[in-house]
């Protein structure tokens, strides 16, 4: 029996076993490759998406357990229509290899939803599960502060 998931506002009927992690449904079934595989064991954050606004590791959420609307990096903003966070990422030229950045941005977006003006400690707390082997952390921090400011000023 196909499972129905809503991703970035579009409903999809997915004909896969219910235990397939959302990560692989997105990447291999729906062609939404912005969400990345890094570890498969909740240790790197590369696969972070949001379900009903909450940041989750999509490698750990089985298709059958998806409890709400999924937002991926592709749904957050597009080239030409960037979200505030992506604009801040662009302004600070955050990415190096870029592979972790979808996950970083989705995690940061969830943080700003609940904590519109995060302190450094709150950023550490929210973002420490997101590994970046290229070491872009200082710019990630700066971009989150900028985006918070941008959103506040409308």
């Amino acid at each position: 029996m196909p499972t129905t998931v809503t991703v970035n506002g579009t409903r999809h009927d997915v004909d896969l076993p219910g235990d397939v992690p959302l990560l692989w449904v997105l990447r291999d079934e729906l062609g939404l490759t912005g969400t990345k595989y890094g570890c498969g064991v909740a240790a790197c954050g590369a696969c972070t998406v949001q379900i009903d606004g909450e940041a989750v590791r999509s490698c750990q959420v089985a298709l059958a357990d998806v409890w709400g609307a999924v937002t991926t990096i592709e749904g957050l903003g597009r080239p030409g229509a960037l979200s505030a966070l992506q604009q801040a990422w662009q302004d600070h030229q955050v990415a190096q290899c870029g592979y972790c950045q979808s996950g970083q941005i989705m995690q940061a977006a969830a943080l700003l939803e609940t904590t519109p003006a995060p302190t450094d400690a709150e950023i550490d707390e929210a973002m420490q599960g997101n590994l970046c082997r290229c070491g872009t952390y200082p710019r990630i921090r700066a971009a989150i502060h900028s985006a918070a400011q941008m959103i506040k000023e409308g």
């Binding site: 992690p21 912005g34 064991v41 080239p79 960037l82 870029g98």
Partner: protein, 746 residues
């Protein structure tokens, strides 16, 4: 076998012999220009292998692996500076594998001189040696060589294309070329009218290319300023295509499982349960392992777990201790190199206080954020392959050989890379994808390694033991005598890549130790090759990643014995050897406020290393609170000769520091029964945003030669951290990772 292999003798000596032998017999092949591999579409033209102009726009070719270091942007800026186009006006593509894209400087890195003392003459010899790279199919991204490789050649390519386009316009307008100028992708006539390059390209391609002098630095518009990266927008919107993101119609997904006991065979396997699992198409025997082909990657990985398999044993010592015992045994044999022997270390001056120390540095995995993977499509007469790789020509050839095709029948697309750090120079992940594709002809297949497969089948940074003895007198270093034992990464990799046996001294084992710009009067460094055959390769900063630590830690111990300030001690030991090295130490001293007051419960350490042509000094501050040690701040000073993109340099040095500190704090690969004991990030921790220091950087431009920045920031960061921990705790670091001996915050 490479083309050079056919015309040279069997053994290729990396070093001074290659200069004589290599250049002498290969003169014609060395100097002949390589053919232009670009194939312009209808109505387009290519002016040289780096500039392609079609009616719909201008494409610049940056045939370098973009693995996060920003080389596509800097490379394009070098061409654009002379071509007079804006970076947002052009497309930047990696381009096909081709001899025209050989690395012109990487072989010069193999010269056994010290680097900082290289005369102009030796630099010229290095350039000659570099041209042999064309014959060796060395289109390689690595060794921090991209910027020096492209610096003159790409500006020349841009200048030549510009003047040739102007000539085409001059002929069309029937006026003298000197009366024309160029701007933003167009030739401007004296009356102000614009002729777009896209309209002139076909005519220009029919002309002989015109050479033009390079513009002086003072005229630069792009170079020397921070450029927005050409790959940024795609990377922050999830639209960048890494090789793991390649999608082809009808594509299958595959998982790989190889014998975890490295070098062991697969004795037997039973795939009946796996084949019955949902979505599974096939299980393919690969001799030392198998691949499962399925309708998605996770189903393939699950099925791989369900295969019952019996693995053969590995030909390596059974325990981590036995492996290091084998490394230590190398000291009993003959030295492979003595690349420095100044003065007489057996007779230090009377009254010298002697100390000694031994350091153990572990094997390391690269752990690129994107695990190894590649996509391939085999049709019987053709192989198409998509892979993020640092060595395209050799990898294309290896894939061709693996599926029984000629290299010309293989089309290799080099994609963006989710990190490289040296790992993606290896052909293995592309070759396995090609082999799987051959078994399911006409079906594109993506072979993705699980993180566990990636970490357990790396070409590891070799583990090393360094033994130092040294002496101080009157507060100064008077003697340093180092012995380093490790597996030789270069000989093993050259055999693997080129099929050439490499003899002679292996520089990579002693790099970062023998070539440090210190005027210590009695200074000897000997290298020993360990008789082990674990797979080893190039890890960000190569030999300097262990020597830059051990050598500098020992200097710190000498400074302590001399009761001297560690930074002033290093400055005194440098004397007048190489002014740019002194200047980076002085810069980091001032930047960090080294001589100023220090907060309670903090420690500071300095580290210095000269490698890949860059002197780099780092100061690290550590702080203790609640029994945990954190790293709040870091200061870096480095001299790259000419700073092409300051913003990018900040990223590179910050990233190199983070990569080094991650390894220094937490990382090691140990082998039990020849199999890696660490398989995923929980066993191989790295710096996180919460443990990353705040970084300040000063870039200097005092040295005459331009140098690359990807690697030199790694060794001194690791060294400085150990020295800071000593300052805080009084305990000397003698091994990595430091978490074994210090209560580091995770």
């Amino acid at each position: 076998m490479s083309r050079l292999g056919k015309i040279t003798r069997r053994s290729f000596l990396i070093g001074s012999v290659a200069l004589v032998g290599g250049v002498a017999f290969g003169v014609y092949a060395v100097s002949r220009p390589a053919p232009n591999p670009l194939d312009p579409a209808e109505g387009g033209a290519t002016l040289n292998p780096f500039v392609l102009i079609n009616p719909d726009g201008i494409t610049l070719i940056a045939p370098k692996a973009e693995m996060g270091q920003g080389i596509h942007t800097t490379w394009a800026a070098l061409i654009a500076e002379e071509l007079d186009v804006a970076l947002d006006q052009v497309r930047v593509l990696h381009g096909p594998p081709a001899a025209a894209y050989y690395n012109s400087v990487v072989l010069a890195e193999a010269l056994p001189d010290k680097g900082y003392d290289r005369s102009d003459m030796a630099h010229a010899l290095g350039e000659q040696l570099g041209k042999i790279g064309k014959l060796l199919d060395l289109q390689i991204t690595g060794g921090s060589t991209s910027v020096p490789d492209g610096y003159d050649r790409m500006r020349a390519a841009g200048a030549s294309a510009r003047e040739t386009l102007k000539q085409a316009a001059a002929e069309r307008l029937q006026i003298d070329r000197a009366r024309l100028r160029t701007e933003a992708g167009a030739v401007i006539a004296p009356d102000g009218s614009r002729l777009a390059y896209t309209d002139l390209a076909v005519a220009a391609a029919g002309l002989d290319p015109i050479e033009a002098p390079l513009r002086p630095k003072s005229d630069w518009r792009l170079l020397g300023r921070t450029q927005p990266r050409v790959d940024m927008l795609a990377k922050i919107t999830g639209t960048a295509t890494f090789s793991i993101d390649v999608r082809r119609p009808g594509m299958k997904f595959a998982a790989l499982r190889r014998n975890p006991h490295l070098g062991g065979r697969m004795i037997r396997f039973d795939d009946s349960a796996a084949r019955a699992m949902p979505g599974v198409d096939r299980v393919i025997n690969l001799d030392d392992g198998f691949a499962v082909v399925a309708s998605n990657t996770w189903l393939a990985m699950q099925a791989a777990d369900a295969v019952e398999v019996e693995w053969g044993g590995a030909p390596h010592p059974a325990t981590p201790e036995a492996i290091f015992g084998k490394i230590a045994e190398a000291f009993d044999g003959r030295a492979n190199s003595t690349l420095r022997d100044d003065g007489d270390v057996s007779a230090p001056p009377l009254g010298t206080e002697e100390i000694s120390a031994e350091y153990h540095l572990p094997y390391l995995a690269h752990a690129t954020m994107e695990p190894m993977n590649a996509t391939a499509l085999y049709s019987g007469i053709k192989l198409e392959i998509w892979s993020g790789n640092q060595l395209p020509l050799i990898i294309r050839n290896a894939c061709a050989q693996a599926v029984g095709l000629k290299p010309e029948a293989v089309e290799l697309h080099t994609t963006l890379m989710g990190g490289g750090f040296g790992r993606r120079a290896e052909p293995d992940f592309s070759v396995y994808a090609a082999r799987v594709a051959r078994e399911i002809a006409d079906t594109p297949v993506q072979l993705t390694w699980s993180r566990e497969e990636d970490m357990s089948h790396d070409y590891y940074r070799p583990g090393a033991i360094a033994r130092y003895r040294g002496g101080v007198k009157d507060g100064r270093a008077v003697m340093i005598d180092g012995q380093i034992a490790a597996q030789g990464a270069t000989p093993q990799a050259m055999g693997r890549w080129l099929g050439l046996p490499i003899a002679g001294p292996d520089k990579s084992t002693v790099d970062g130790a023998y070539n440090q710009p210190y005027a210590i009067p009695n200074y000897r460094i000997r290298g020993y090759l360990a008789d082990l055959d674990l797979p080893v390769g190039f890890w960000r900063s190569v030999g300097a990643s262990f020597n830059g630590v051990a050598f500098d830690w020992f200097l710190d111990e000498l400074a302590h014995a001399a009761k001297a300030d560690p930074l002033a001690f290093r400055l005194a030991a440098m004397g007048d050897t190489y002014a740019p090295a002194r200047q980076v130490l002085e810069a980091v001293r001032d930047l960090s406020g080294w001589d100023g007051p220090r907060a309670a419960n903090t420690g500071r350490g300095v580290g210095f290393c000269y490698c890949f042509g860059v002197p780099c000094a780092t100061v690290i501050e550590v702080a203790e609170a609640d029994g945990e040690v954190s790293i709040p701040r870091a200061w870096i000073a480095a001299d790259v000769g000419t700073a092409l993109d300051p913003g990018n340099l900040e990223q590179q040095f910050t990233g190199a520091l983070a990569y080094g500190l991650s390894a220094a704090c937490f990382e090691e690969i140990t082998f039990t029964d020849g199999a890696a004991d660490q398989l995923n990030f929980p066993d191989y921790e790295a710096l996180r945003i919460s443990t990353m220091p705040e970084v300040s950087l000063r870039i200097l431009e005092n040295q005459p030669h331009i140098a690359g920045a990807g690697e030199p920031g790694t060794p001194p960061a690791m060294a400085a951290l150990g020295n800071a921990l000593f300052d805080l705790t009084g305990t000397r670091p003698r091994r990595l990772p430091l978490m074994h001996d210090f209560p580091l915050k995770i």
